[in-house]
Homo-oligomer: 177 residues x 2
Amino acid sequence: MSNAIYVGTSIDGYIADSEGNIGFLESVPNPERHDLGFADFMESVDALLMGRKTFQTVLGFGVAWPYPKHVFVYSSLLESVPDELADKVTIVRGELHEVIGRLNTEGYKRLYVDGGELIKALLREDQIDTMVIARLPVLLGGGISLFGPTPAHLHFEHVRTEVLLDAIVMTTYRRKR
Amino acid sequence: MSNAIYVGTSIDGYIADSEGNIGFLESVPNPERHDLGFADFMESVDALLMGRKTFQTVLGFGVAWPYPKHVFVYSSLLESVPDELADKVTIVRGELHEVIGRLNTEGYKRLYVDGGELIKALLREDQIDTMVIARLPVLLGGGISLFGPTPAHLHFEHVRTEVLLDAIVMTTYRRKR
């Protein structure tokens, strides 16, 4: 059982600017469309657990559905998903740790957790085991923060760091327990 | 003329925890007392411009004076410095950009700016040219933030990244102008 995040952030730790824009994620030229380790990361998980806002943002991109693993959308508001995603996406609700326990029991043991609020909710409970953080070389100066309160100082093991596209510092951390 | 910072921070961008403690900076074992590039960085500057609180914190360490370059303490409150530092430390006051202009004119063209408030004041005016950021592998969950508001998205060039002591990700950034 493990919860992992894979997320792009500014040097100052924002995942969107103060207008909610994420254009800075595309601010580094990527002519050969390097996937920034996304496929490898995706291989390492059994499913995604995603917040509603992130889900709706992805839908809004109007691109082909990008996830090869099942996506569980954590939402008490969402009532249905588009028909074409019916076999790829499931809405889940309830207490977060119960939802995760249920998914684990169903065989989805390694979860890729995505979405600012969901990540912060899990950090608050010290439930994040692996973090893959891609630092883009920009200061946004404000916006939606990746991080939030934790119950204590949470120490991590540094697993690896790579510099991608001569600009993005991508570090994998594993929680020391 | 350039202003540089060299600073240790948590993954979530804090330079001290919510009690003002900086013990996390010593949380990585460093048996051979690696200087984390400090001497090289110090070679690259002409003087330090330091906030009062940082100055008083350094004094409070009770260690030998650690700076081989002249230190200018930016403070409207401080009236004097300890006698033994009289030839090493000068108090400066006034508008920050005027103080920096004056130091530049006096030949201190490359400044190492230290102190949370001073760094944030310069970021607010887009006056930081070089950032050497050492990320310790810990989430503090709150405290004194390294970063603050900026007048816009500030883009930086990634100069280099090294992993030190198998744990600390040290990245040098240079402002793109």
